[in-house]
């Protein structure tokens, strides 16, 4: 079978380059937008996903991990007594002011536990020993803080809420959706720093279940015993923390609009070039009809050209997207390109190009084969 679609498409190389460049541009734009948003969403739940807990207890109506509210820390005793719970601890998550050497004050988001090691948290320790946090006024700081606060080193001191604390370790990949750097300190030290209002109060209880324990049953029992709190499995709480930013802020809509515009750019470019190409080949299509071809034969040609443009444009768009991953990381941004995203964007690209080809379908349907007799 002679592949007229491919041969026609590649015959005019400049037009082909313009078409696939348009598709590639749209594909890169979509990957970067969704990938950056995915990276931000990853940050929104990265601490939940890495803390080795099965169940999270929050105060009622807490929207996400960053915006915690207080409740009595003694509730942890009720959680520990629930059948199937292997261990449970209080967790404080709170923003605190940190004074920088230049006199400026910034925010850090502090995670405070009594024993970090048994929760395997933080998960990526670069320097220091987590067990040392219990020994005094110390804290760990994530490496990402250097971008906001300037360079720092283990052994240096910083004032947190006007208390002098020593940096005894550093972590990596502990990020928040708000991009506020994350620090880790002992639970009692955090309560002391935060003041009287925090005495005897916590923001979360995290629970690890015994092997084989029924998560749903344990969750229901904790909820029964703590009716004024909300109880989530880790997956539920992670999802809620992510969806808050998508659904409750303009960020999700903003991302949607950018992706939509990227898609529209691609559709317009492909539609325009395919339509121009169709008009230039209109007599050839008339010839196809005159020698017995149907509209469907011509639709197939246009569809195949759209799919070829989509596949080549997708491949060309994917390369810069991947190349941007390390470049973005250097700028402190996480660009997440998962296999699932690649598949979705590929299907979307093909659909986008086929949609663009449909603009030409209407023109083709009205081609009069008698035009082959016109000079």
């Amino acid at each position: 079978m002679v592949d007229l679609a491919r041969k026609n498409l590649l015959h005019d190389k400049l037009r082909f380059v313009i078409t696939v460049s348009g598709v590639a541009f749209a594909v890169t734009l979509i990957f970067v937008q969704i990938g950056l948003f995915g990276g931000l969403l990853d940050n929104a739940s990265v601490t939940i996903d890495h803390l080795d807990a099965d169940i999270w207890v929050t105060s009622s109506k807490t929207p996400n991990i960053d915006f915690a509210h207080l409740f009595p820390e003694t509730s942890v005793q009720r959680v520990r007594s629930v059948p199937g719970v292997a261990r449970a601890d209080n967790l404080i998550v709170s923003f605190m002011f940190i004074s920088l050497p230049n006199g400026a004050r910034e925010n850090i988001e502090v995670y405070a536990l009594e024993d970090f090691s048994r929760w395997h948290f933080p998960w990526n320790v670069v320097q220091g020993n987590l067990d040392d946090l219990r020994r005094g006024r110390y804290f760990f700081l994530d490496e990402s803080a250097a971008r906001r606060f300037g360079p720092f080193a283990v052994g240096e001191y910083r004032e947190v809420l006007d208390y002098r604390l020593k940096i005894i370790g550093t972590t990596r990949e502990a990020l928040s959706f708000t991009t506020t750097p994350i620090g880790f300190m002992d639970y009692r030290i955090a309560q002391t720093l935060l003041g009287r209002e925090w005495v005897g109060r916590t923001t979360y209880i995290v629970a690890k279940l015994a092997p084989g324990a029924d998560v749903a049953a344990a969750k229901a029992e904790i909820q029964r015993r703590l009716p004024h709190n909300d109880v989530y499995t880790t997956a539920e709480w992670s999802r809620q923390s992510r969806s808050y930013w998508v659904e409750s802020t303009g960020i999700g809509f903003n991302m949607f609009m950018t992706v939509l515009l990227g898609g529209l750019v691609g559709i317009v470019i492909v539609a325009q070039t395919l339509y121009t190409s169709t008009m230039e080949h209109i007599k050839e299509f008339g010839t196809v009809k005159a020698i017995g071809g149907s509209n469907a034969d011509i639709y197939k040609i246009l569809a195949e050209q759209a799919v070829i443009s989509a596949v080549v444009g997708y491949a060309l768009g994917l390369i810069p997207a991947f190349a941007l991953v390390p470049a973005m990381a250097k700028g402190g941004l996480k660009l997440v390109i998962t296999p699932e995203l690649m598949l979705v964007v590929f299907v979307g690209t093909v659909a986008m190009c086929l949609l663009a080809a449909m603009v030409s379908f209407r023109k083709v349907a009205t081609i009069d084969p008698a035009l082959v007799f016109r000079g």
């Binding site: 079978m1 002679v2 007229l4 041969k7 026609n8 590649l10 015959h11 007599k283 050839e284 008339g286 010839t287 196809v288 009809k289 005159a290 020698i291 017995g292 071809g293 149907s294 034969d297 084969p369 008698a370 082959v372 007799f373 000079g375």
Partner: protein, 221 residues
């Protein structure tokens, strides 16, 4: 009889005016017969060719090809008749610029339902028959006008369509080349027992035609 067109009328609407392009044309063509249809511009010859070629539908009248009455109301039926019975040669050659001479003919055969090796062999056969054995893999841009028209003739002959319709096949050729193409066309049509209707202004076509028809104001005279 290969072709019988009976009492063909065709009118076009131009604004409020009805233009009668064909006024009761009747003609027939037998296998192996070559007929030249001559007439001045606007006489209706190309319209008649389009109707016989199942590209246009007549306002009234009947076209029968190989004893099959053409149902002019159904576009799919018209396309089927074109695929099965008719080969076209156009004034402007109408070759696909991105396809080689061989591929141009293979593609036409693909449309007619002949695929793969069978299409390739048939394409080679007709190209050899028109004297282009050395130009099979040339793109149209690398062929002369006469060679392009030979490819177009080969395309019309490919697939054994019994009826060949040619619209001014020598109009874009110099007189020597035009004469050669016509001679070749005649020889192949006779040899393969095809019916050939040539619409033309070119008096040289008379030399190869078995019969000459003249059309004026939509009527054969």
């Amino acid at each position: 009889m290969l072709l019988e067109a009976t009492d063909i009328h065709k009118t076009f609407q131009e604004g409020r005016e009805t233009v009668h392009v064909l006024n009761g044309v009747t003609l027939s063509l037998a296998r192996g017969e070559i007929v030249s249809l001559e007439g001045p511009s606007g006489s209706g010859k190309t319209t008649l060719l389009s109707i016989i070629g199942c590209i246009l539908t007549p306002t009234s009248g009947r076209v029968v090809i190989e004893q099959h009455g053409v149902n002019a109301q159904h576009q799919g039926e018209l396309a089927r008749v074109r695929r099965q019975y008719i080969g076209f040669v156009f004034q402007q050659f109408n070759l696909f610029p991105a396809l080689t001479a061989l591929e141009n003919i293979e593609y036409a055969l693909n449309i007619k339902g002949v695929k793969g090796v069978a299409a390739q062999r048939e394409a080679e056969r007709v190209l050899v028959a028109v004297g282009l054995a050395e130009r099979l893999h040339f793109l149209p841009r690398d062929l002369s006008g006469g060679q392009k028209q030979r490819v177009a003739v080969a395309r019309a002959l490919a697939g054994n369509s019994p009826l060949i319709l040619a619209d001014e096949p020598t109009a874009n050729l110099d007189s020597v080349t035009g004469g050669q193409v016509l001679e070749m066309f005649r020889a192949l049509a006779k040899q393969e027992n095809r019916g050939l209707l040539i619409v033309t202004h070119d008096p040289k076509v008379r030399a190869v035609a078995d019969r000459v028809l003249k059309i004026e104001d939509g009527r054969l005279i």
